[in-house]
């Protein structure tokens, strides 16, 4: 016997519906009349939230609820319950606040009178049907012709009046709906009018209810206080007056609390309290008072938390508590969706969580109380539960006042029936649903850990309900996070449950993984349990069904599953061990980061068994990945004992791998490590590790050293999963012979020697030489082997071919740099070593050469007296003095120098030959020579004298030519030329002849005052002062006999030339020109030797006669 009863704990739909003013609509034939249909569609589709109206189509057959007779006195009235079940429904959906009668009638309808009467009769019939109600009536005329306002106004007014009178209608309640374009707009306006009428109606109703209050007495009518306030609240809601509703509901709630609770009415009060609380909280959220709502709810649950009612029915209490929390969570969530901000510490999830808590208590209570209730009592004590008058009353005791003593037998039957029904409920589904709601909320409010906890609890519930598959899935999803935060005891707790799930669902791979993790050192399982699961693991390996850890009825089923599974053909299970802190751990590393291709790559595998038991592996292998393929390499052992790990033991295995020449410059990577467990014929478990070790959050390396360590320090070994293969590093010795630094411009010789201690022939030896910096490549030239060869382009490849072991190998490279600075040469040597195979090898070396200047070069331009010259003068001889200042650390040999004169500059030497040939200069020394030249042309800018070429080399070096241009000075012209002929030395008291020669180079006459100043060292004969005139192109000689008086370097008598004051000649010859001419042309001193013994020979003395002639 299964009575279909509504879940008595759920809220009735009329309570949860949003109360809207009910507007009845009649006169619309929606089925046959298209116009009516469109009108109804417009009204019916209006958003109820906006209008606050609920339209209901009422046809002629509709029966309104019967009006109860009015009660004049409450004196003898004893209420049988608090809230009537039908009341809310009645006001929500049955009694309209406004009754609207639609009628097709145009103002100028030809059959106006007849139609008016029909309309009136319709109104009348509805009025009769609503006899005793305060429902407002309203008439809407559907008109096809829109009326112009000015059109026959009086006629219209008259008809309005007539219609109102015949319908007995207030003209305010008569509306016109022109059926045309703007139906929606008219409908909205009509809705506003209906709303006013509805408000009016509900207002009257509230006042009606209020008027009952004065008749009530505190003692007997406690229920009515609640009922009336509730009704007022509900009507206010219908009226859309939320504040009023809040006030009345609050009163109702407070009145309810005043009622004494006894066993018989506990259920009813609790139910009604729940209803009112629901209404209150919902209203407060709508009124944007979330804090008030929360505190109201908290006070509510606090108050009713301990009101269990019948002990035998305590599950009802828990169900109610769960419902309260769940519903509060719902309305909170609804408010959040409408924009209420919630925070991490106050959000709907908390209430769902609380609901879960109570649902769990309900389940427990049910398990305790309803164990034996397998029989439904007869007669059915719950008969008529659906038709009860009041909310929250017992069907076997309807309408009884608390004072009546209950019949124990009936009570007992009722309880039995409820317990029976409770036993049918699937609590797990309820709990899991609530968990689902809570989990979603906690996820939204950033509580990942709380969410995880809830999921674990949810999985627990699945487990309890026997859905082990789902429980297993949830558990295994949660494991990772607990593992990553190192909550080992929680992890072990979950794993242990998951292990049971895996057992019950015969998931062999999960079963083995969980077991391996539980056996690990981090697991907090007691040793006895570890032993048990270890033995179970071994049974699986032996193809036997493992023993159950917990006795459950499903064991038999799972035994069958295991049997089938293990009976199948042998299978290999691949188990991904990367994120698992299992009892078998493994680290793998290349011993070096780089391996040469001819050597062996050595891979070290460390395997640790951190369990308390001995574990034997079947094999160990690694997957080695190079750029193309994956190779699996197994560890080879001599005995089986090598793979046997005692408790806590670490073992090291070595794999040697010979790299392929194709692997050169590629990476080798260990993609996974495989440990094989199980039996060869039986299920084989391939445990795949990534080889990094499973210390997920290992403490820093430096600190690990403080730990106690085993013989092999597993923790401190850093895994290395990648290595690169490089070409064999050459054992050749490369020597560079060169004398640093290089000098600018020279061919710098670099000798590259390959000396070798090798045993094999070398094939295809290639040097490749390149400059490291590109920016100096323009100023650097290379030649190889000999200077007669062509210039080489970079990179220079020198192929030396095959060389047998005994050969010496030399190559010479010449480099010439035109600027100073560093030159870094890279020399790559590659060759194939002719061993058993051809092994490509290479080596790389660098040559650093700094380039410096070999010498500094400067020039001096001098007068014939070796004084600095400022200007050249046309046809005046000057001296060029190139100076070479050696800067090179190596001595330089100057092989030759040449000076090639430019045009306009003429050699004055008898023969040109270098004075520096074969000269060797060391660092800091200077070499210089002189050349005499003159120039024939005036120039305002400095002239180019010529190019100076130096042929130089370092001792045993290559000869180098450096060309340097020599720049002169500006060239000026003066018309006068002065020269002097003077013997190299004089002798005391021996006359010597000085001959000054003045030459006019111009085409003008030159007049000069000539005088000779006296000198203490000389007596002289000749003109002391006179004026002279020199014709163009003519010369004038002045001769003097000097008679030296003292020996030594004595100053000569000074010749003074000056332009006469009355000179007719122009400014072409000025005094300063004359002075500078005198200064540069005439010596100021002469050496005078002591008197010779005997009679000196006077060759160059002016003869007496000539002197006379002059005069």
């Amino acid at each position: 016997m299964q009575n279909v009863i509504p879940d008595q704990h759920a809220f009735p739909p009329e309570l949860c519906a949003k109360p809207l003013s009910l507007v009845g609509i009649s006169g619309l034939d929606t089925r046959n009349n298209a116009t009516h249909k469109s009108i109804w569609d417009v009204f019916g589709n209006t958003k109820t939230d906006v209008s606050g109206l609920n339209y209901k189509l009422i046809d002629n057959a509709y029966e309104f609820p019967v009006v109860k007779p009015k009660r004049n006195s409450y004196e003898w009235y004893i209420p049988k319950g608090i809230l009537k079940k039908n009341w809310m429904e009645k006001h929500l959906n049955k009694i309209p606040a406004v009754m609207v009668i639609f009628y097709d009638l145009d103002w100028n309808d030809p059959q106006w009178n007849e139609k008016m009467i029909e309309c009136a009769s319709r109104v009348q019939s509805i009025r009769v049907a609503l006899e005793g109600r305060n429902t407002k009536l309203s008439v809407v005329l559907i008109q096809n012709h829109s009326v112009n306002p000015g059109d026959d106004d009086s006629h219209q007014t008259e008809r309005v009046n007539a219609l109102c009178t015949s319908c007995e209608l207030n003209p305010n309640s008569l509306f016109v709906l022109p059926h045309g374009d703007h139906l929606q707009g008219y409908a909205t306006r009509l809705a506003g009018a209906f709303n006013d009428l509805a408000q009016n109606y509900y207002h009257t109703e509230i006042r009606n209810v209020k008027s009952h209050r004065e008749h009530l007495q505190k003692q007997t009518h406690q229920y009515l206080f609640v009922r009336h306030q509730f009704k007022m609240g509900f009507l206010s809601e219908l009226k859309q007056d939320l504040h009023g509703a809040h006030k009345h509901y609050t009163h109702a709630y407070n009145n309810l609390l005043e009622i004494r609770i006894v066993d018989t009415n506990a259920m009813e009060i609790r139910t009604v309290a729940g209803f009112i609380n629901y209404k209150l909280c919902r209203l407060m959220f709508s009124l944007n008072l979330p804090r008030d709502a929360i505190s109201q709810f908290k006070a509510h649950t606090e108050r009713f938390k301990t009101r269990y009612g019948f002990q035998e029915l305590s599950f009802e209490h828990h169900a109610w508590m769960a419902l309260q929390n769940q519903v509060f969570g719902d309305i909170f969530d609804e408010a959040v969706k409408l924009g209420l901000p919630a925070v991490q510490t106050q959000h709907p999830g908390l209430y769902y969580q609380q609901a879960v808590h109570h649902a769990t208590l309900r389940k427990k209570a049910c398990e305790d109380l309803c164990k034996g209730s397998n029989v439904y009592p007869l007669p059915d004590p719950l008969e008529g539960i659906a038709t009860m008058d009041f909310y929250g009353q017992r069907p076997w005791r309807p309408g009884k006042m608390t004072s009546d003593p209950p019949d124990p037998q009936v009570e007992w039957n009722g309880i039995k029936a409820l317990q029976f029904l409770e036993n049918q409920v699937n609590h797990s589904i309820i709990i899991i649903t609530l968990y689902g709601l809570a989990v979603a909320q906690f996820k939204t409010y950033r509580c990942p850990r709380t969410r995880r906890f809830l999921v674990v609890q949810m999985a627990d519930e699945y487990y309890n309900s026997g859905d082990y598959g789902k429980a297993l899935t949830l558990f295994s999803h949660m494991l990772w996070d607990y593992r990553s935060e190192c909550w080992w005891s929680l992890l072990s707790h979950i794993l242990y449950k998951a292990l049971q799930c895996a057992f019950l669902t015969a998931r062999i791979d999960d079963y083995v993984i969980f077991t391996l993790e539980l056996l690990g050192s981090k697991s907090t399982l007691p040793k006895s349990q570890k032993l048990q699961i270890f033995e179970n693991l071994n049974s699986v390996f032996r193809k036997q069904c493992p023993e159950a850890i917990v006795i459950l009825p499903e064991i038999k089923k799972s035994r069958v599953l295991w049997k089938n599974l293990l009976g199948e053909a042998p299978q290999t299970y691949k188990l991904e061990m990367n994120n698992i802190v299992s009892c078998l751990d493994c680290k793998v590393r290349f011993q070096e980061e780089k391996y040469q291709v001819d050597g062996l790559v050595i891979i070290e595998i460390l395997v640790r068994n951190s369990s308390d038991f001995q574990i034997t592996l079947l094999g160990i292998s690694i997957s080695l990945e190079n750029y193309v393929k994956n190779t699996e390499i197994c560890v080879e052992t001599t005995t089986n004992q090598d793979f046997c790990f005692a408790a806590g033991q670490v073992k090291r295995f070595i794999i040697e791998y010979k790299p392929n020449p194709a692997d050169i410059n590629k990476e080798l990577e260990i993609s996974s490590v495989h440990l094989y467990l199980g039996h060869m014929q039986n299920p084989l478990f391939d445990l795949q590790f990534n080889g990094l070790g499973n210390d997920i959050k290992s403490i820093p390396m430096e600190l690990v050293h403080f730990r106690n360590c085993e013989s092999i320090d597993f923790d401190n070994i850093k895994a290395l999963l990648k290595c690169s293969v490089v070409p064999r590093h050459s054992k050749l010795a490369m020597h560079f012979e060169h004398a640093k630094p290089a000098l600018v411009g020279e061919w710098y010789k670099i000798r590259i020697n390959l000396a070798d201690s090798r045993d094999y022939q070398v094939n295809n030896l290639i040097f490749e030489i390149s400059l490291q910096d590109d920016d100096v490549s323009d100023t650097t030239e290379f030649k190889q082997m000999s200077l007669d060869n062509e210039l080489e382009k970079l990179p220079i490849k020198v192929s030396l071919g095959d060389i047998s072991p005994s050969d010496q190998c030399v190559t010479v490279l010449y480099m010439r740099a035109f600027t100073t600075g560093e030159r870094n040469l890279q020399v790559n040597v590659s060759f194939n070593l002719h061993n058993d195979d051809l092994i490509p090898s290479s080596m790389e070396e660098f040559i650093h050469v700094s380039v410096v200047k070999p010498f500094d070069f400067s020039t001096k331009i001098l007068t014939t007296h070796f004084e600095e010259l400022i200007k050249h003068y046309v046809d005046e001889t000057f001296v060029i003095m190139p100076i070479i200042n050696c800067l090179s650390p190596w001595p330089l040999v100057i092989e030759n120098t040449e000076l090639d004169y430019h045009d306009n500059v003429h050699n004055e030497d008898v023969s040109i030959s270098s004075q520096l040939i074969g000269c060797e200069v060391s660092n800091g020394e200077t070499a210089s020579e002189i050349y005499m030249a003159n120039t024939s042309k005036v120039s305002d800018s400095p002239i180019l004298i010529g190019n100076y070429t130096i042929h130089w080399k370092r001792a045993n070096g290559e000869s180098t030519i450096t060309k340097i241009p020599i720049n002169g000075l500006i060239v000026d012209f003066i018309p006068l030329d002065l020269s002097v002929s003077l013997p190299a030395y004089g002798l005391v008291r021996t006359p010597l002849l000085v001959e000054y020669q003045l030459k006019n180079k111009s085409h003008h006459l030159i007049q000069l005052d000539v005088s000779v100043e006296g000198s203490e060292a000389f007596m002289f004969a000749g003109h002391k002062q006179f004026q002279t005139t020199i014709l163009p192109g003519d010369r004038r000689k002045l001769k003097y006999n000097l008679y030296p008086l003292i020996a030594g370097s004595v100053s000569l008598p000074r010749l003074v030339l000056s332009v006469p004051e009355n000179s007719t000649d122009g400014p072409s010859l000025r005094q300063e020109h004359l002075n500078s001419l005198l200064h540069r042309s005439l010596p100021t001193h002469i050496y005078v030797m002591p008197q010779m013994k005997g009679q000196p020979e006077l060759t160059n003395v002016i003869k007496r006669c000539e002197m006379i002639n002059l005069n």
Binding site: T345, W487, L490, I699, R707
Partner: protein, 138 residues
């Protein structure tokens, strides 16, 4: 007295856990772990504004059965105390002073050269001191 004292490292892994009733330990661990959500949120949002010298975070969770308090050191070590909701003797001030005591014995403990930073605390004397703080006998 409190019913549980826990120390959580900066990586959110448990460093020390003690509770008065060993049967309830798993459940309390779940609760303490859940309360880390609140601590994390508080540290992420509030810390910039509030005084960083204030290490006490106040109530993290106030459940029907338990109240959970938190305290975070400058190095992000979290101390958590769980108190029975019915216990009204312990106010914020008492809790605060308990936290200070725990902080000081924690600091003493990690000064021990034999303690490896980041490893769970296994020192017996620390345990004795911590439990006496928990039971309020200090």
């Amino acid at each position: 007295m409190a019913i549980c004292v826990a120390i959580i490292g900066k990586d959110n892994s448990p460093k020390y856990f003690a509770c008065s009733n060993p049967d309830d330990e798993i459940n309390l661990q779940y609760k303490v772990l859940s309360s880390l959500d609140v601590i994390e949120e508080k540290l992420n949002t509030a810390n910039k504004v509030t005084d960083f010298r204030e290490l006490f975070l106040g109530t993290l969770y106030s459940l029907e059965s338990h109240k959970i308090y938190g305290y975070v050191t400058n190095t992000k070590i979290k101390f958590i105390i769980v108190v029975d909701s019915t216990n009204t003797a312990l106010r914020d001030n008492e809790i605060r002073s308990m936290f200070r005591k725990i902080h000081s014995i924690y600091a003493d403990n990690i000064c021990n050269p034999f303690h490896i930073p980041g490893e769970p605390i296994t020192s017996k004397s620390f345990h004795d001191k911590a439990t006496s703080i928990m039971f309020g006998t200090v």
